[in-house]
């Protein structure tokens, strides 16, 4: 099984080389993206089959001569490989249509399959070297894709910050693996599983894993690169980075904390829960303030990563207290959300890419009325918005419902930190869910509804069939995962069994295909029946109305109170839509400030409104570090300009210091 996957990964690397050769020909796009779609689909299917089977391992004579490359395909890797396969296949199919109008294909085509290969290799790695090599391959390939349009806007700065954060994550993971390997130096994951680190070392490894995997996933405060880098890349790559690469970072965290570290301590669960909750709320608040469609979606990824980490924190908390079945429920909820988010975030990025290729605009303030011009893609985007806002009967609701059931599961945990953190996280999760719905009403309403604000929006045309196919496919997947959630829960059972030793009760044997996470007396949900009731009620209402009531329709002007409407500028913009929420939440979180300057009576100048807001995370964490590094570099730079006498004295002093150190060491 693992050999088949490796062959597909080698195939992806081969496609990268083919991309170099064929980049400038139209055949190149078809070969690279079509091949990538096929290979990702095959890998996804293989991973699905491998979920139920025992793990398979292989050792390749590559890499370091005395270590080799260990690769392993177990339940956790298979599930994430399935998610990456689905996301990669969808993005490749979308790219077949989207990349038609892309300039400089030679900057994108070679790196795209290599990025996919890196993603899959991280999932298969079974020793620290292979893991880190694949991690860096993934980061570098995606960096090349982020700066592929380097002449546009702020993309070079985005790529620079992305590279810094990627290097930071690689460094912290390297340190973490080094600590796990310990003095014996056993870098294979098998050796790390068998070794039991002391409590201090385990705490340090957890902190390093949170920093490393969290910065790649987008945990606050390490998220700052995400809204810069994800919009800068081409849309299919943005979908992969947001939907899939962040999930591979979640995989890294789950692998290190649940598999390699063993039993977590309860206070580490408190830390993860706290970070998850803060990330969820801050992510969506940032998203609400944006009017760039892709940046809004990127900030929203941060929120969903927060929700996933809330689930993971709950799993850690229950496991630390020996409540294995509760941990299984929480882990299943988190991993179900991993799949859901990969699907609907990719769908939303595809929609944003469709808007970008149809109008050339990413800014919502220049769009509007696209529902009339782009019918199918607007429908698919609506399904994505409804799914991400956790509305039944779609899939986002199921994973949030399962997370709430996990929060309610055992209030009697003995540790006070958990007793306070878990209900606080429930409140933060609820707040994030409500704000997410607000965010997507804004995104859909300003972009697709209303009247077109610019000529570009008024002249938009529907995108091509490949893009539409990918979008409708993912929309269907959202609906299916919401109607048949038992399939996904039962598919995740081997994962929780392998990691936690317990699994949720079998769902597919239940009557009517409902899901019952704990017991029928506690709670149950049936997506299929709710969907059937909704469809039946809608149809019945429509039939009854059309049978017994009037069917007449007349078109007229919109209500304008008697004042003829001057134009599309009078409708609500993204900023004005977010103004009530900005006033309620933003004054605290972003220190937003609005000043209105009214001209004196008689003056014909327009009134002005100025809004200011501050990014407190950037000012607290990033700007001081950048200033310190620059200051240190400036100070140390003086070493470049010393006279020859000073250099000779420098060498002499260094020699004396090293000899002293050697003497003291003996």
């Amino acid at each position: 099984m693992i050999v088949a996957l490796l062959i597909c990964i080698v195939g992806l690397l081969g496609l990268g080389i083919a991309g170099v050769a064929l980049a400038l020909r139209p055949l190149g796009r078809a070969v690279v993206y079509g091949g990538a779609a096929g290979l990702c689909a095959v890998i996804g299917l293989l991973a699905l089959v491998a979920l139920g089977r025992p793990p398979s391992t292989i050792v390749l004579p590559l890499g370091l001569p005395w270590v080799g490359a260990h690769l392993r395909l177990d339940a956790l890797s298979s599930f994430f490989a399935f998610v990456v396969g689905v996301g990669g296949a969808g993005a490749s199919v979308y790219a077949l249509g989207y990349s038609r109008h892309q300039e400089a294909p030679q900057r994108v085509l070679p790196f795209y399959p290599v990025f996919l290969a890196g993603l899959f290799l991280v999932l298969l790695a079974d020793d620290a070297f292979t893991f880190l090599f694949s991690w860096e391959l993934m980061s570098l390939a995606s960096w090349a894709l982020v700066v592929s349009h380097h002449r546009e806007g702020d993309n070079t700065r985005a790529g620079y910050i992305y590279l810094l954060m990627a290097a930071f994550s690689g460094l912290t993971l390297l340190l973490g693996f080094g600590l796990l390997a310990g003095a014996t130096g056993g870098y294979a994951f098998e050796a790390m599983r068998a070794a039991h680190p002391s409590a201090g070392v385990a705490a340090l490894v957890l902190a390093l894993a949170l920093l490393g995997a969290g910065s790649k996933a987008g945990l606050v405060p390490l998220h700052a690169w995400l809204p810069l880098a994800h919009p800068a890349a081409p849309s299919h790559v943005s979908a992969l980075m947001s939907g899939v690469m962040t999930k591979v970072a979640v995989y890294a965290f789950v692998r290190i904390v649940f598999d390699l570290l063993g039993l977590p301590s309860w206070w580490s669960a408190v830390v993860v829960l706290a970070l998850g909750g803060i990330t969820a709320v801050l992510g969506v608040l940032y998203a609400l303030m944006q009017h760039d469609l892709k940046r809004l979606l990127a900030y929203h990824t941060v929120e969903n990563i927060g929700i996933i980490f809330i689930g993971l924190g709950l799993a850690m908390a229950f496991r630390a207290n020996g409540f294995a079945i509760g941990a299984a429920l929480a882990l299943t909820a988190a991993l179900f959300h991993v799949f859901n988010h990969a699907v609907f975030k990719s769908l939303l990025f595809f929609g944003a890419g469709a808007v970008l290729s149809a109008t050339g605009e990413r800014d919502m303030e220049h769009l509007g009325g696209l529902i009339h011009r782009m019918r199918l893609s607007s429908f698919a985007f609506l399904i994505g918005c409804a799914a991400i806002s956790a509305l039944p009967p779609l899939n986002g609701f199921v994973s949030e419902w399962l997370t709430f059931q996990a929060i309610l599961l055992r209030p009697g945990l003995p540790q006070w930190g958990l007793k306070i953190m878990i209900p606080a996280d429930g409140a933060l999760l609820a707040l994030a869910a409500a704000l997410a719905a607000a965010c997507f009403v804004k995104a859909y309403g300003v972009t697709y509804l209303g009247r077109p604000r610019t000529a570009a929006a008024a002249n938009a045309t529907e995108v091509d069939r490949w893009s539409l196919g990918a979008m409708m496919g993912f929309a269907t997947l959202c609906l299916l995962a919401g109607i048949f959630p038992g399939v996904m829960i039962d598919a995740l059972a081997p994962v929780s069994q392998a990691l936690l030793g317990a699994r949720m009760p079998a769902q597919l044997v239940l009557p009517w295909l409902s899901i019952i996470p704990v017991a029928a007396s506690r709670s149950s949900y049936n997506g299929l029946l709710i969907f059937t009731f909704l469809a039946a009620s809608t149809w019945l209402t429509a039939w009854a109305i059309h049978r017994f009531a009037s069917r007449a329709v007349r078109r007229g002007a919109a209500w304008d109170c008697g004042f003829p409407d001057p134009g599309p500028a009078t409708q609500y913009t993204a900023d004005s839509f977010a103004q009530p929420i900005r006033r309620v939440f933003g004054t605290v979180v972003f220190r937003t400030h609005e000043t209105v300057v009214m001209p004196p009576p008689g003056d014909l100048a327009p009134a002005r409104i100025e809004k200011s807001s501050r990014d407190l995370v950037w000012e607290t964490f990033y700007a001081p570090v950048a200033r310190a590094v620059t200051a240190t570099a400036d100070t140390l730079n003086q070493v470049q300009f010393l006279t020859i006498r000073r250099y000779l004295a420098f060498v002499f002093l260094a020699l004396v210091a090293l000899l002293l150190a050697l003497a003291l060491w003996q």
Partner: protein, 305 residues
């Protein structure tokens, strides 16, 4: 399902009658909402020139979501055939889906009225929904289930005593219900002045049968909230499981009495205070959220003590 559909306009008519009486008017008859619905159903629909398919299908979907949610709430008996398909969280999420579609429909025509309604509605929802979810969490912790029938059954049994968390949850629930149903002090259901509209602003462009469905959905939502409060906090007369016909009549009578009392109290409450400024509403809802969070926290820390 049919019972809630027939009872909803009657409840709205009762509330309007109580408010009219308190204003020293005679008021329209309590059956007037039925006549209004019949009148609207017979009228032709006037659509704005640029209204899209979403605008035309949203009323049907909003009505369907609200109707399905209302059917999941026990009214006079808990033995609803399909109550296990959705628990309280699913009911609130269905109402949230209806609100999502209504806000989108408000944005559809591209006037500033729709924008004002939609942006204020999502601001209110961003605080009301978390407060509601925290109330559900505290009820679930007390009763051991999120299923509404099980909660109602638990409240009728002697195991549920007087608890501080229940009182806090009741206050928070009532505040959230007022906000969700667009009643004074959060929103005025009878106004059409743009500075005071939230719900009315979103449905300003609707007419004819579409408006009839949205009005019926709003009445259904009010009935749903009052039924939920009645079956959780005042479950007297609720029929548990299968029973003989006499008990059902008693249950029906008790339910009608609860609706009448709730309607009268709501009417009196709406007449006694004025509508709040829009940016004072987050203070009210934030208070409800804090009360609900406090209720949940109290339960979390008191278990095992």
């Amino acid at each position: 399902m049919a019972l809630v559909l027939l009872a909803a306009p009657l409840l709205t008519g009762l509330i309007r009658k109580v408010k009219a009486r308190l204003q020293r008017r005679r008021g329209a008859s309590v059956l007037q909402p039925y006549r209004d619905l019949r009148r609207l159903l017979g009228k032709e629909v006037v659509l704005a020139d640029n209204a899209s398919w979403l605008f035309r299908t949203a009323p049907y979907l909003i009505f369907a979501f609200t109707w399905v949610a209302a059917s999941l709430v026990p009214t006079f008996a808990t033995g609803l055939l399909f109550s296990w398909t959705g628990d309280l969280i699913a009911i609130i999420a269905l109402l949230g889906a209806a609100r999502f579609l209504l806000a989108l429909a408000g944005m559809d025509v591209g006037t500033s009225f729709g924008g004002i309604g939609a942006s204020r509605e999502v601001m209110i929802a961003s605080l009301a929904e978390p407060a509601m979810l925290m109330v559900i969490l505290s009820l679930a912790l007390i009763a051991g289930s999120t299923q509404l029938s099980t909660i109602a059954q638990f409240m009728l049994s002697p195991a549920a005593g007087l608890r501080v968390s229940l009182a806090l949850a009741l206050v928070a629930f009532v505040v959230v219900a007022i906000a969700e149903n667009a009643r004074i002090p959060v929103d005025n259901p009878a106004t059409h002045l743009e500075l005071t509209m939230v719900h009315e602003a979103m449905v300003l462009e609707y007419s004819g049968r579409h408006l009839a469905m949205i009005e019926l959905a709003a009445s259904l939502k009010l009935l749903l909230m009052i039924s939920a409060i009645a079956c959780i906090f005042f479950p007297f007369g609720l029929v548990i499981g299968a029973s003989e016909a006499g008990r059902y009549f008693v249950g029906l009578g008790a339910y009608a009495l609860k609706l009448a009392v709730a309607g009268t109290l709501l009417g009196i409450f709406e007449m006694s205070i004025a509508k709040m400024r829009v940016f004072r509403v987050p203070n009210l809802l934030g208070g409800a959220l804090m009360l609900a969070l406090l209720a949940t926290l109290l339960l979390f820390v008191s278990v095992g003590l």
